[in-house]
């Protein structure tokens, strides 16, 4: 296709392990008997429940209302009866309040579900629709999308990037989406560009996904101002700052946001969810999840209702294969290890990895040999070994001076470390402590 391939400095090349699912078309999983819909599935304040036990709810009905601007409503992913509202295991927070709905199997849609048309909606109406549909970043961070689409007046946005890098090993959900529904991705991008009043849009995809590149390139042919950008296959190519640099050559200033350099980044899955919310009227009640790893009998890409417990999803993939050692929500580089398969799929669940003993290495840290591999690998150009050494000694001031707060927690340093030092792990701790100290210092003033 003769496209230039773009990249960034640093990074690592983990095995891809995408083979077992990358060519498998997305299958729709049957909705389970019970869904557990957490009231917090996003960064920000949790939702207030709008229903109570015993209520009958319809498919797509709003059941949780966010308390602040940074938040997103949650909706019923099945029709049926609210059984209870209780604490359940949560894939990102350990525990969280959730609405438990017993599925009546009818999928009776809510009256509010009416298809709309992008062309006939104003930017403001589109933004309201995105908020009301409960759209959040679907790459994993789950930041409320309408907030991203509301930059302050003084920040002029001129570029929108859709992130289709999917640089995490094992995951193929975005890849399948781009191959099977490129139209949704492009429609979502158009909506985002309209909301922000931006003329230039890019869809960035790693060059190990030629099929997705072809499908998207085909879909954008007739769309003015939108281009496909091929990225070098390298982790963390999909990290926001690295992606912005690869596509535009701009560097987000330390402590700043993409909007400081005129860019807004959204995941391709988020764009597709926006398109579906507009075209069908249905809010975000399901998502594609890659279910894979050596501990799953039949790895698949599944379209899963939000709130479906992991164990039901694994069951839909032929069940467990032997004894699982680790279950991860997301990818192996940044995903979160789960303590139970009872956790439900939420809006940010891009993958469920069930890893066997053979796939899981329990690191046994040795002394740092100062090989400098973490320095070469850090995509933020930090010196992980020094930041970590100070953090482990409790000298967080020094960690901070060495730019600990700029760490994006991608995990390249720990991945590459031959001594298996807990590099990103200790830097993460330092960041928490520094953030807490800053917060306290600010409130003391």
């Amino acid at each position: 296709m003769g496209l230039k391939v773009f990249g960034f400095k640093g990074g690592v090349h983990p095995f891809h392990r995408k083979e077992s699912t990358q060519d498998k078309a997305v299958e729709r999983m049957q909705a389970p008997k019970l869904v557990y819909i957490p009231l917090q599935q996003h960064i920000g304040a949790p939702c207030e429940p709008l229903v109570k036990p015993g209520d009958h709810v319809k498919l797509g009905q709003k059941i949780g209302q966010p308390k602040g601007f940074v938040g997103a409503p949650v909706h019923a992913s099945v029709s049926g009866v609210v059984k209870e509202i209780k604490q359940v295991p949560h894939p990102a927070m350990g525990q969280g309040l959730a609405v438990v709905i017993e599925n009546d199997g009818k999928d009776e849609p809510d009256e509010s579900i009416v298809p709309k048309d992008i062309e006939s909606l104003s930017a403001e109406e589109l933004k309201d629709l995105i908020l009301e549909a409960g759209i959040v970043g679907m790459g994993g961070a789950a930041f409320p999308t309408h907030v991203k689409l509301s930059p302050p007046k003084d920040k002029k946005i001129d570029v929108v990037i859709l992130n289709g890098a999917e640089c995490e090993p094992y995951l193929t959900a975005d890849h399948r989406l781009m191959v099977e529904n490129p139209r949704d991705v492009v429609d979502g991008l158009k909506a985002i560009m309209k909301v922000l009043g931006v003329e230039r849009g890019y869809i960035a995809i790693e060059d190990n996904k030629p099929e997705a590149v072809r499908a998207i390139a085909d879909a954008v042919k007739s769309v003015p101002g939108v281009e496909v950008v091929q990225l070098k296959t390298k982790y963390p190519q999909g990290a926001e700052k690295q992606l912005i640099y690869a596509v535009t050559g701009r560097q987000v200033p330390s402590g700043g946001l993409p909007m400081d350099v005129g860019v807004v980044v959204n995941n391709v899955g988020t764009a597709a969810a926006i398109a579906r919310a507009i075209n069908t009227g249905m809010p975000l009640i399901e998502r594609i999840v890659t279910v894979t790893g050596g501990g799953v009998a039949q790895p698949k890409n599944l379209l899963v209702r939000i709130g479906t417990p992991f164990k039901d999803v694994v069951e839909a993939c032929g069940g467990l294969l032997g004894q699982p050692a680790k279950v991860i929500s997301g990818g192996p580089m940044m995903g979160i290890a789960q303590y139970t398969l009872d956790v439900p799929v939420i809006k940010g669940t891009s993958g469920i990895l069930v890893l066997t003993k053979q796939e899981v290495e329990m690191p046994e840290p040795g002394p740092c040999i100062r090989c400098g591999k973490c320095v070469e690998a850090c995509p933020m150009r930090l010196i992980p070994l020094f930041i970590s050494a100070y953090a482990l000694k409790g000298d967080y001031e020094r960690s901070e001076k060495l730019h600990a707060m700029d760490c994006i927690e991608c995990g390249c340093c720990s991945y590459i470390c031959p001594a298996r030092r807990p590099l990103v792990q200790s830097i993460r701790t330092a960041k928490r402590v520094i953030t807490e100290r800053r917060r306290r210092a600010a409130s003391a003033k």
């Binding site: 330390s254 050692a325 192996p332 890893l355 040999i369 591999k373």
Partner: protein, 325 residues
């Protein structure tokens, strides 16, 4: 179901481990070791074996005494032992490598905290100590037991290394051996330093395995080449740079010694400064100093400067906002 393992990400790791890196270094040194045995005979093998054994035993004993976990299976002690043997003349009494390796491990490595904490290259620091303590043993060279060089040098009274001849040191009226003999290793010198071909073979392996990167060795060798060419004996730009590059311990030092992780900078810019610094000091010692060879001391001096170099070469981070910009 057994309890699931819960730990903080990442959940996967590269195949690189400390032991694998150290094993790779040993592998890379094997061709040069084989050439040493070929040219200097079974005694060379004996010296290397004693040196490695002493290093490993010393590491185990010291760690036992200090009640620390014994880590001899990370191969790092073996690397130090072999490196030290490579820096000894083939004529040394057999107790010398044993003493040398013990010094390298006990004094230079373990006394400062063990792996990753030594501030000098253990093998080179030990070599410097041996050179000061037993200068005669450490500078008595032998001709290779086979090949053209031994025949050509049969009438030479002295036993000087090519670098000493090049420098025109006293009693070294002997002719310089041909360049090809130097590159192959058919010449006088320390066990492991003579065969550039074998050392370069190992270096390519280490570069390919990403155990080392180009920065220190290339800037080191490049600087020596440039300076010895410019500051030639018959005026500017008359030096024999190629001969300087391939003689003595430069190839061994640049690829295997100066790249020692714990005693060299971790920042990319710092590594280049390390290489250039080593190159300048080596050239000055070779051209104007009292010794024919300066690789050892140049590396040791730059080792000591490493923490300072690291501190002043912190890379500019992504998106860094500096006050002066």
């Amino acid at each position: 179901m057994e309890p699931l393992i819960v730990s903080s990400s990442p959940h996967v790791y590269s195949e690189d481990t400390t032991a694998r890196i150290m094993r790779d270094v040993v592998l890379a040194l094997l061709p040069a070791a084989a050439v040493a045995v070929y040219f200097f005979g079974g005694r060379a093998a004996l010296i290397m074996a004693i040196s490695v054994l002493s290093a490993v035993v010393t590491e185990a004993v010291v760690q036992k005494l200090m009640k620390k976990p014994v880590t001899i299976n990370d191969w790092s002690a073996a690397v130090t032992g072999l490196m030290l043997a490579f820096n000894l003349p083939p004529t040394v009494p057999l107790w010398l490598p044993a003493v040398g390796s013990a010094i390298a491990i006990a004094l230079v490595k373990q006394a400062f905290g063990g792996l990753g904490h030594n501030f000098m290259n253990p093998a080179l620091a030990a070599r410097a100590i041996l050179l000061a303590a037993w200068p005669v043993y450490m500078t008595t060279w032998a001709d290779p037991i086979r090949g053209a060089m031994s025949a050509a040098a049969a009438d030479a009274v002295s036993s000087a290394t090519p670098l000493a001849i090049l420098k025109g040191m006293e009693g070294t009226e002997a002719q310089l051996p041909p360049l090809w003999a130097i590159i192959l290793g058919n010449t006088r010198g320390c066990l492991g330093e003579t065969s550039d071909v074998a050392l370069l073979l190992g270096a390519v392996y280490l570069l390919w395995r990403r155990v080392i990167n180009w920065r220190i060795p290339f800037s080191f060798i490049g600087t020596v080449g440039l300076l010895t060419w410019i500051l030639g004996p018959q005026g500017l730009f008359t030096g024999n740079a190629i001969y300087h590059i391939f003689s003595g311990g430069l190839i061994l030092g640049a690829f295997y010694m100066a790249t020692d992780y714990s005693s060299s900078p971790v920042t990319p810019k710092g590594q280049i400064i390390m290489g250039i610094g080593c190159g300048i000091i080596t050239s000055i010692i070779r051209l104007y100093g009292g010794y024919p060879e300066g690789v050892t001391y140049s590396i040791l001096l730059m080792n000591v400067a490493t923490p300072l170099i690291d501190r002043f070469t912190m890379p500019r981070i992504y998106g860094e906002v500096r006050a002066d910009v």
